[in-house]
Amino acid sequence: MTQGSLAPAESPALSPGPLSGPQPANLGDILERVLDKGIVIAGDIRVNLLDIELLTIKLRLVIASLDTARQVGINWWESDPWLNAQAANGDHGRELEEENRKLRRRVKALESGGGRGG
């Protein structure tokens, strides 16, 4: 099975009839629900879903909170100019922001490293 077959079976021309029969849920709809961090309780056998490459990278599926998604870098939609007006305003602001973030991280690393060393 290839990733292409993940696409829903619905036809692109399908008119959005008012609840004209239930729409078939695609694998994405199911996965984002059953993999959501809606763990009310944890099992004995634990698998960190963020370690599963297929889920986090290949499917680029958000299996946790938005924060976690950002953490593992699957926040693709945030830089999609279609979905994000800020991103559409150009790369310049994002570059500055990224540089800023890197610098802050570096300062933090240097500070904590210095603390341990001294």
Binding site: P16, P18, I30, L59
Partner: protein, 270 residues
């Protein structure tokens, strides 16, 4: 009869319901093909099934979850069981791959978390989750724009370069306008449905791999709707469909309340 899991077998947890939930008039087969059974304690019923440790132990799970076919099969089997239970009674779905070593361990966890589970159960009672996705009605087609029919000539007073720039400008403006309309419509849809629901949750739009290559998803939301308002919800969708033409709405559901059972998302619920 709470059986001790056989050697090489572990216990897959599907969902938890209140104790008055019947064990199930019809037999169900779940993940790995085995039957679904009930473990009861503390006024709660856990729906479980025995699975082979060689396929569902920690190491095997990590390996199998990387296999798309296995994941597809397993996620659908897990969901099918939960959906069947949800048709009969309020149910708290568990995350995929919540696995225990024995029924005893499941029961112990139920007792530990009984208060939380009962609270969540009462919050989702007589409510269902509906998924609403909005797609841009027309895929962003970068080569043509409305108002720019092929073959149309611009006045000869301007050179071909200027004509090109004019055309390009009109094209870009039309694209911007279209994009703006789509986002405005998606927001309007979300606002209208938010007024109707008990709670709403926004998922990130699905990547084109999942949503289909030509579909630009602009809204991927889940709404927890009181069952008594289901027809009002349907009417609202119909109304939104006619009023907001820049987006194409796709509704899924009713779902078990997957998106509203975690502590973080249940807290705000009345």
């Amino acid at each position: 009869v709470a059986a001790v899991a056989a050697e090489n077998s572990c216990v897959w947890l599907y969902a938890v319901a209140a104790n008055d939930a019947g064990t199930g008039a019809r037999a169900m087969n779940g993940v790995g093909g085995g039957p679904v059974r009930a473990v009861r304690t503390a006024g709660l019923t856990a729906f479980v099934g025995d699975v082979d440790q060689r396929d569902f132990g920690a190491a095997a799970l990590r390996r199998n979850l990387e296999d798309l076919d296995w994941l597809d099969r397993t996620a659908r089997a897990h969901h099918a069981v939960i959906e069947a239970i949800a048709e009969r009674c309020p149910v708290v779905p568990m995350q995929l791959a919540t696995v225990y070593t024995s029924d005893h361990s499941v029961a112990e966890t139920l007792r530990e978390r009984a208060t939380d589970l009962r609270r969540v159960l009462s919050r989702i009672r007589a409510r269902s989750e509906w998924g609403v996705k909005a797609f841009a009605a027309e895929p962003a087609d970068l080569n043509t724009a409305p108002g720019d029919p092929p073959g149309q000539q611009t006045p000869a007073t301007s050179g071909p370069g200027a004509a090109y720039l004019q055309r390009r400008r009109a094209q870009l403006m039309a694209q911007d306008k279209g994009r703006h309309d789509v986002m405005a419509d998606a927001l309007a849809v979300h606002a209208a449905l938010s007024r109707l629901c008990v709670s709403a949750r926004l998922y990130p739009p699905q990547s084109p791999d999942l949503a289909g290559p030509r579909a630009r998803m602009v809204l991927n939301a889940a709404y927890l709707i009181a069952d008594e308002r289901a027809s009002e919800f349907a009417a609202t969708i119909a109304d939104l469909t006619t009023r907001h033409r820049s987006v194409r709405l796709v509704v899924t559901g009713p779902w078990p309340a997957y998106s509203f059972v975690s502590e973080a998302h249940a807290e705000g619920l009345p």
